[in-house]
């Protein structure tokens, strides 16, 4: 086969792994530039029609955190000692949870919104995925800035371990994104997946120690303990705020698994792509 020759055939793409890998590499080469341009422009376009613009980014996390603080304050819910001021505890938990939750929904949402283009233009789909990941990362950075201000205002002293927090945040993003990407091929075909993701994310929130203290007095095989998001949220929050319960080894294990799942999900998506485009 000539170097500049492209072959489209009915054979499974993995029948020729080197050709499959070469195509993936070629697409990845153009993704950073395309994704960055798309993301910047989309960001500008999104905030152009808004008076408050970027100020909206931390609002959901703050609103959710303040709701739980209020519920705790009026004793509707009592979670006991969290080791640090409850506001700092719940706000950091919500910010970290939202990294995971937004990462979970990002791939399907990004590609679903672009479906009219996917059928006509040969832009690498990874550009939309990367652009969506950048969105989640920006949201995180803004919320993190607000969180640090709140932590300082609440009298929480910043610790050296805070420098490890980005690792946990990246792990949360990768885990959410990996699960979301793994579901995307089916999700682009069946709307049920998008609907189910919204429902599951709500349920998942309560299975993660975001608003209640951890470690709790629960059996080791409880859903909360088995929840892969638990060690990520708990450990990252501990690094950020000094809250108890850090499990760095578990975080590393889940993080490594998330990276494997992300790569596997990406490769499966590439295999599925022409079949998806034919049905969009």
């Amino acid at each position: 086969m000539a170097a500049d020759e492209t072959v489209y055939s009915a054979e499974p793409l993995l029948r020729s792994p080197e050709r499959f890998a070469a195509a993936a590499r070629a697409d990845l080469r153009v993704v950073p530039r395309s994704a960055w341009r798309m993301w910047v422009r989309r960001l500008q376009a999104r905030h152009r029609a808004s008076r408050l613009g970027y100020a909206w980014l931390p609002v959901p996390a703050l609103a959710l955190a303040l709701t739980w603080v209020y519920l705790d304050h009026v004793r509707v819910v009592r979670f006991g000692d969290t080791g640090i001021p409850y506001l700092a505890y719940v706000l950091s938990g919500v910010v970290l949870w939202q990294v995971f939750a937004e990462g979970l929904q990002a791939p399907l949402r990004a590609l679903g919104d672009a479906r009219h283009m996917l059928t006509k233009a040969r832009l690498p789909h990874e550009a939309w995925l990367a652009s969506a990941a950048l969105d989640v990362a920006l949201n995180l950075l803004v919320r993190l800035a607000v969180l640090v201000v709140v932590l300082v205002a609440a009298g929480t002293s910043l610790r050296a371990a805070i420098v490890l927090a980005p690792l946990g945040m990246v792990a949360l993003l990768v885990l959410g994104f990996a699960i979301g990407l793994a579901l995307t091929p089916v999700g682009l075909l069946y709307e049920d997946v998008g609907q189910a993701l919204t429902v599951v994310a709500g349920f998942w929130f309560f299975l993660t120690p975001v608003v209640y203290p951890w470690p709790a007095d629960l059996a080791g095989d409880s859903l909360i303990a088995l929840n892969p998001v638990t060690p990520l949220v708990v450990t990252t929050r501990a690094w950020l705020t000094g809250a108890p319960g850090a499990e760095p080894a578990q975080l590393a294990g889940v993080g490594a698994g998330a990276v494997v799942l992300l790569v596997a999900g990406w490769l499966v998506y590439r295999l599925a792509r022409p079949h998806l485009v034919a049905r969009l």
Partner: protein, 408 residues
């Protein structure tokens, strides 16, 4: 440029199937994805509920060649382009393409709506692997060609359909493709831009590019393409010269007369307007069988223009074209005037007929003006036949024309 003589596109027994029912289609999609994960499994045969959008299509395209793909709606033309562009995967056979591919799958689509025109150019250039230096040059070329310099930094969502069309063609054609896949390029856009596209495609071919053109516009196909392929229900039913392919297409299609609308200038005005068509005997009197008949077209032009013209005579029910002719030699049309042609001996028998006219661009054969094909009523002509036993017999049989016969 690709080595001359070697095919840049080689399509071999290409097949693509779709399921008509959505639920079935989605179920098959899951199976197809599952099959990708098992590399040793061979592609399967047609499944229940599937139809072939492309069925065993083969052809080659060499540098400098233009292949027209014609056929009715649903024939598989756009599917062929999508397979060749790598958007969808074939279910059988293969396609090999050498070099860069530029494509217009649907004119004016395929852009990211929130990106500006300039940014969309950059993204497309990145996909084609252009360097930053090449991008800088190509961007200016694209914007200049599309006449969008002033709108370059405006998000594409604010572009009109004409602006999108111009940008789409300019992007596909200017990012130095070796193979250009074009679907209905001249379906929109003003006259000047269509002409510009036509000339650009000619230069692209002269420079060794290979063009695969999908179009319903039989004039464009015949003028631009050397070869043609007729697709019907996914099957290539004819392959030959573009002219022969169009002839075959028209024969199977039972065409209505219009082949696309008339061209309009950027401001929406037509370069030529036909104000009326009439037919009369040169010496006076009603049109009659066997007598000369002069057809006169009255026109008005926005500005003097080179044009060619023709007329057709149809049965009174507007359905059957009985006769007609075109003179494709260019002639200068002033701001207003008349075009005339004389039939020395009218062969039509008595009856009611309608006259239609077309004025075309002699270079592209795209119509400047159509008369009687659209909303305006064609001219009605009553033809009389001198009474006689012979003519009465022919008229009684509803014969339309007389022919000269040498009897032994």
């Amino acid at each position: 440029m690709t080595a001359s003589g070697e095919p840049v596109v080689r399509v071999d027994h290409l097949t693509k199937r779709y399921a008509g029912d959505l639920r079935t289609s989605l179920r098959y999609a899951l199976r197809d994805i599952g099959r990708e994960l098992v590399p040793h499994r061979s592609p399967g045969a047609a499944r229940p509920g599937e139809f072939a959008a492309l069925d065993d299509v083969s052809f080659e395209l060499r540098p400098g060649e233009a292949l027209a793909v014609v056929g009715p709606n649903g024939a598989g033309k756009s599917t062929l382009l999508k397979v060749l562009y790598g958007l969808v995967k074939p279910d059988g056979g293969e396609a090999r393409i050498r070099g860069r591919v530029g494509a217009l799958i649907e004119l004016g689509t395929g852009f990211d709506e929130v990106l500006t025109g300039r940014e969309n150019i950059a993204v497309n250039a990145a996909i084609l692997g252009l360097s930053e230096d090449e991008l800088a040059t190509a961007t200016e070329d694209v914007l200049a060609f599309a006449e969008l310099e002033d709108a370059a930094d405006m998000p594409v969502r604010y572009y009109s359909s004409g602006m999108r069309a111009r940008l789409a063609f300019a992007v596909a054609a200017h990012l130095r493709p070796d193979v250009l896949l074009v679907d209905e390029v001249l379906a929109v856009g003003d006259f000047a831009f269509q002409r510009k596209c036509f000339r650009h495609m000619q230069r692209f071919l002269d420079g060794g590019g290979a063009l695969l053109l999908v179009s319903h516009n039989v004039f464009l196909v015949q003028t631009l393409c050397t070869r043609g392929m007729l697709l019907e229900c996914g099957v290539c039913t004819f392959a030959g010269t573009a002219v022969d392919t169009v002839a075959r297409y028209l024969a199977v299609r039972q065409p209505r007369p219009a082949a696309g609308g008339a061209l309009a200038a950027a401001d929406g005005t037509a370069p030529v307007t036909v104000e009326g068509i009439s037919a009369a005997r040169p010496g006076g009197g009603p049109p009659a069988t066997g007598e000369p008949l002069t057809v006169t077209v009255r026109y008005r032009c926005a500005a003097p223009v080179e044009a060619a013209w023709g007329f057709t005579i149809w049965t009174g029910d507007h359905w059957v074209c009985v006769a007609g002719d075109h003179d494709l030699r260019p002639r200068r049309l002033e701001r207003e005037g008349e075009l005339r042609a004389t039939i020395p001996r009218l062969p039509l028998l008595a009856g009611t007929y309608v006259l239609r006219a077309v004025v075309v661009d002699p270079e592209t054969l795209l119509p400047f003006a159509l008369y009687g094909h659209g909303d305006e009523a064609p001219a009605v002509v009553e033809i009389t036949t001198p009474p006689g036993v012979h003519h009465n017999a022919l008229t009684a049989m509803q014969q339309l024309v007389t022919i000269d016969v040498d009897w032994d």
